[in-house]
Amino acid sequence: MAEQILLEARGLVKEFPAKGRRKVHAVSDVDLTIRAGETLALVGESGCGKSTLGRTLIGLIPPTAGTVTFQGVDLTALSQRELAPYRRQMQLIFQDPYASLDPRMTVRDIVAEPLVTYGVCPDRAATTQRVRELLDAVGIPEEFLYRYPHQFSGGQRQRIGIARAIALRPRLIVCDEPVSALDVSVQSQILNLLKDLQERFALTYLFISHDLSVVRFMADRVAVMFLGRLCEIGGGADVYAHPLHPYTRFLLEAIPRADPRLRDDSRAILQGEIPSPIDPPAGCRFHTRCPYATDRCRTETPALRPLEDRLVACHRAEEL
């Protein structure tokens, strides 16, 4: 796996204004590196800020603080116009197959939009031919070229969204919950397609999802996020085999296994509600739900530190 760093975020912070002069701490002091050709999964529950982090990394949302360097160039220092050549190399795949395609445009125009925006092809005919190739690469038959989005099933629409995302041969694609709205059988088809395209076009994925099983299949590395902060980053197999951070452990144990024999009602379940990102708990933000929390956890925010070939943000990771 190429070791070359494609994208690196340092001290990334994103805060949104909330009602009454309060702030939503969506992303707080995140350091993250994405290596060329890998699939880094960003996993966490709703409201943990993973979508915001994904969009901030590719410059769709301006960060409140911190830097994002892409192939050695600091994007946060660039103006919108200077950002254009880099934005072209980073694309986004969306969650909702029914909202990510413009209902008034034919499939041909939807997939052609990136090509037209950057004048990739000399003329209309060349663009249309290019669109045919892209649709073929994602398994959409040619005769559907001039149809409208609402004439396609959920799975087919997601394929069209993917064709649009790979049109400009990007280096990095952020997939934001790409299969959450799809049925199990259609999900597998799309996940297989994403893996094939990764190999064929040497793509790097930042794969955002709340579904831990999907992440297990897709991810080379996994970054677990809780309330705007990263609590654990490591190789997929290792993290799932023996998680170090208590939140990761509870997350993995909470997954309902498709095996009635594993039904023991005694296993520990994480209690309490997901705290609000508007006024997150002090110290380690997980301490309000963590059964192992100590005074130190309640006051001192644990930094992401190396432990057993992984990075963990927990004071008591060694003892648990």
Partner: protein, 302 residues
């Protein structure tokens, strides 16, 4: 925050997508025609009225300006379908001449206010922040005025004349259009396909032209067909109050005003133009409702 679309929404669209044929704008309009007879009838009525207004010199033997005093204040007869007025002129002929101004007053200022309103509304909606605040406060101010009073004041300063009416009604009408355009833009701005265009690097101008406006179209077309009648009503009210169209021009509102003093012995002089206004407004409303059903994307999926 709803985590993601619930599965059942996905199926109803799946089911619908397999059933629906290829759906261009043309097909949608044909479906509307089948489903909504009233809208079609209204469209036909309006078309006939416009034709009659344009070709009235050929259709009617009578002169609209000087009448035959001997047949003054005559009830509707075979010769004069809608009777004659106090000057012995044929009411139906005057009605068709009046239609020219009344219909023009329905369409022209509405078009102007649509252009101003959509432009300001979309910019306010897409840009947000201070520009949004300024444009919307201006719209709030214009909407605070009772429209008729504001139009009256504008007509008072500009002086009467058909062109001034166009300007007055346009100035009064743009604010409500801006408000609709702004709310449509704000909801469209949040959709994923607009975010997709932004993430590709499409410029804001192109996003508005290629994504926002086409998807605003259904709401704007419906708004246009519904604003025409309110403009016609405003003009007829202005003329009725004597601050709108003045002689020698004639419009339905003016005819109603002129016929008022004969209301008790020759009611048809006022009632004919009033009925005409009602029919035009009714057909615009039916047409508007029909278009709304036809152009509403998720409606034609069921």
């Amino acid at each position: 925050m709803a985590l993601f679309r619930k599965k059942t929404d996905v199926i109803s669209a799946d089911l619908a997508s397999q059933i629906g044929e290829s759906e261009g704008l043309g097909v949608q309009l044909r479906r509307m025609a089948r489903k909504n007879k009233l809208a079609v009838a209204s469209a036909v009525f309006l078309a006939l009225l416009i034709l009659a207004a344009v070709f009235v010199p050929l259709l009617s033997p009578y002169d609209a300006v000087n009448g035959d005093a001997s047949i003054r204040l005559q009830a509707p007869t075979a010769a004069h379908w809608l009777g004659t007025d106090e000057m012995g002129r044929d009411v139906l002929t005057r009605l068709l001449y009046g239609a020219r101004i009344s219909l023009a007053v329905g369409v022209v200022p509405t078009l102007i206010s649509m252009v101003i309103g959509v432009a300001l509304g979309v910019v306010a909606g897409y840009a947000g922040g201070k520009t949004d605040y300024i444009i919307m406060r201006l719209a709030d101010v214009m909407l605070a005025f009772p429209s008729l009073l504001l139009a009256m004041v504008i007509m008072y300063t500009l002086g009467d004349g058909v062109m001034n009416i166009f300007l007055a009604l346009a100035l009064v009408g743009w604010a409500s259009v801006a408000r609709v355009a702004r709310s449509e833009t704000i909801s469209l701005k949040e959709t994923e396909y607009v975010q997709a265009a932004r993430s590709i690097g499409v410029s804001p101008g192109r996003i508005i032209l290629r994504h926002i406006l086409p998807n605003c179209l259904p709401a704007l077309i419906v708004l246009f067909t519904l604003n025409i009648p309110s403009a016609i009503l405003s003009e007829s009210s202005l003329s009725f109050l004597g601050v709108g169209v003045k002689l020698p021009n004639s419009s339905w509102g003016l005819m109603v005003n002129m016929g008022r003093q004969f209301l008790y012995n020759a009611p048809w002089i006022s009632l004919a133009p009033s009925a005409a206004i009602m029919l035009v407004v009714l057909s615009c409303n039916f047409l508007g409702d029909g278009l709304r059903d036809a152009l509403d994307p998720h409606l034609n999926n069921e």
